[in-house]
């Protein structure tokens, strides 16, 4: 593991940067609090209209779903297409290329560095929100919790891989903000971040099941709730792993061919 020391060091440095930009981080955090509270009131209204269970979820389960989604959304908030695109377009990646480091692993280290802090803040806020709204469903079985942790880790890798792949469009386009927004919109729908996928009409749910995004929120959240039977859970986490690793490798391939094919601008 000696070769990974450098990436650990870079991850640590990027965690430190979060503290430099603590004002920005705090504003982001406050924004996300408003968002999760709004989601809670929205879904509370829906559930109050239909006392008991709505489809497959009870209200405590739905609350748990929202909290889990909130926590999963709280990681890697500083890694986006816009920043990577700017680095590519303005030729800053040249600096990285002149170093004995792997470009993708460096990006991964930098994206992961802040996770302990992001996670700690999200857990604290999540606990307060959950308390205020009368508690959430806890995993019925410790095995669910363990599987959830695996699934959540895969969800984070998947998020990185997707953003990394999408960022590579910076080699061909300058409109990274549009690209980033488009990815966010598609992700919010098909990951189940806005509405659990079970509430989708069949055709839309079918589409979601062949896309990688469900692995970002839906799969770990359902694993937490123990909403899927054993084989289904294994299949879904396996699918998640295949997407996460597949896209990670695909990103490497994209980067390599892009670097070969395209000039590094600026200078």
């Amino acid at each position: 593991m000696r070769g990974f020391n450098k990436y650990f060091a870079m991850a640590k440095a990027s965690l430190e940067v979060i503290f430099v930009y603590r004002a920005g981080f705090t504003v982001n955090l406050i924004g996300s609090v408003f968002y999760v509270v709004a989601m809670f009131y929205l879904w509370q209204t829906i559930f109050l209209g239909k006392p008991g269970a709505l489809g497959v979820f009870t209200w405590p389960e739905m609350k748990a779903y929202l909290i889990v989604a909130f926590i999963l959304n709280s990681t890697m908030t500083w890694f986006d297409e816009w920043q990577m695109g700017a680095d590519i377009r303005e030729g800053r990646v040249a600096t990285d290329l002149a170093r004995p480091i792997d470009f993708q692993l460096k990006r991964f280290a930098e994206a992961s560095g802040p996770i302990p802090f992001e996670l700690a803040s999200a857990l604290a806020i999540g606990a307060v929100v959950a308390f205020v709204f009368g508690g959430i469903a806890l995993p019925a079985d410790p095995a669910h919790l363990a599987l959830f942790i695996v699934s959540a880790a895969l969800a984070t890798l998947l998020k990185f891989s997707i953003i990394y792949c999408v960022s590579m469009t910076a080699f061909w386009t300058t409109g990274m903000e549009g690209v980033s927004n488009a990815r966010m919109a598609v992700q919010n729908i098909f990951s189940g971040a806005l509405i659990p996928l079970v509430f989708f009409p069949d055709w839309l749910r079918g589409l979601a099941s062949v896309l990688p995004f469900q692995g970002m929120i839906s799969t770990p959240a359902l694993t937490y709730l123990g909403a899927m039977d054993g084989p289904t859970t294994a299949f879904m986490i396996g699918t998640q792993a295949v997407w996460a690793l597949g896209l990670f490798l695909f990103g490497r391939l994209l980067w390599r061919s892009a670097v070969k094919a395209v000039t590094i601008n600026g200078g």
Binding site: A13, E16, T95, L97, V259, T263, G267
Partner: protein, 354 residues
């Protein structure tokens, strides 16, 4: 192998594909549907070999292909054609391994982490290059002293001055004892004192550590203080490769001395008469410029010839700019030692597309 040069490039070429777009909305629309491209030869079949311990100035006007060459040498860009070996490695094939042997400083771009204290960037370099702790401490202590880094060691790179940043960038590039140091305009925008200390430092590296240096610059001072050899590139081709003394004797003979006068001179003709073979001009009556050949006159002689005719308040001498030197070389104003013949023969074999 010890007999091999540190850098060995043969027929090194980089072609870029540039989008060709007609002006205006119609042009943009046309471009959207039928993209047209044109190949631009950034580096055109250059041959270059650099021995260990040399300090080479790599010069040329903007867009001549300097940075492109450096980027190929560092493994950042893949050459379109030709062969390239740096310290026994093909840089773009073994990019990471090559990166361990080289240090790179871009004058216009920092390699330090912007938001964290300078010392922590150095610590990251230690981890990235896996520098043995003892060696790291030695180097850090030495560079800190030589470059005067102590006063801003704990300040984030984004908050230090340009001169401080450049000094820290140099340290950053050298902590892992690279054999080869690439400097891309290392003194751009710096004040005289900082320029001077940076040049002395680099010269010392070459002399004491035997580091091989290749630098691009637009500042003659950099070359004079650091380099033994000058390579000039223009439009992607090497048009001069030789030592500095010869180049200066041949191309930098002219000096211009400027006088600030108290009153307009009574007779320009009288001044000119005293200075045959010089070009004497006076633009607004209170300024007088004399262009002279430094092998023919000393600056003092010019001053002595001018003083009796006018009252001089102030004067200064223009040093020739590298830009002028290069311009002269490629305008062919002065005879050249024949540059190495470029590989014209292989040109017909250029495969198009890729």
């Amino acid at each position: 192998m010890s007999s091999m040069p540190l850098i060995e490039a043969r027929g090194l070429t980089k072609k870029f594909r540039q989008a060709v777009k007609e002006p205006g909305l119609v042009g943009s629309l046309k471009h959207f549907f039928t993209r047209q491209y044109r190949d631009k030869m950034a580096v055109d079949h250059i041959d270059l070999s650099v021995e260990a311990g040399e300090s080479v100035a790599y010069l040329g006007p903007n867009g001549a292909g300097k940075s492109t060459t450096i980027k190929m040498l560092t493994g950042i860009l893949v050459p379109t054609e030709g062969s390239l070996i740096v310290d026994g490695l093909v840089p773009y094939e073994k990019r990471q391994q090559n990166a361990r042997n080289i240090g790179v400083v871009f004058g216009q771009r920092t390699t330090l982490w912007w938001d964290i204290p300078v010392i922590e960037s150095f610590n990251l370099a230690r981890d990235m290059y896996e520098i043995p702790v003892k060696r790291y401490k030695q180097n850090l202590a030495e560079f800190t002293e030589l470059l005067g880094l102590a006063e801003f060691m704990n300040v984030p790179a984004g908050k230090v001055s340009l001169g401080q940043r450049m000094r820290a960038d140099l340290c950053m590039a050298l902590l892992h004892d690279p054999k080869m140091l690439y400097l891309d305009e290392p003194t751009i925008g710096l004040d005289i004192a900082v320029k001077d200390s940076i040049r002395k430092f680099i010269r010392r590296l070459v002399d004491e550590r035997g580091t091989t240096v290749m630098l691009t610059t637009h500042d003659l001072g950099d070359i004079e203080d650091i380099c033994n050899r000058i390579v000039i590139i223009d439009s992607g081709r090497i048009i001069h490769d030789g030592d500095l003394g010869a180049l200066k004797d041949n191309y930098a003979r002219d000096r211009v001395i400027h006088f600030q006068l108290a009153r307009p001179p009574e007779s320009m003709a009288a001044i000119c008469a005293g200075l045959p073979a010089c070009e004497t001009t006076s633009d607004d009556g209170l300024r007088l410029s004399v262009r002279f050949d430094r092998f023919q006159y000393a600056a003092g002689e010019i001053a002595a010839a001018v003083m009796p005719h006018v009252e001089v308040i102030d004067f200064h001498i223009d040093e020739p700019e590298v830009e002028d030197l290069i311009r002269k070389v490629y305008l062919g104003q002065l005879s050249l030692t024949a540059p190495e013949s470029t590989a014209e023969a292989t040109e017909s074999a250029v495969a198009t597309g890729a």
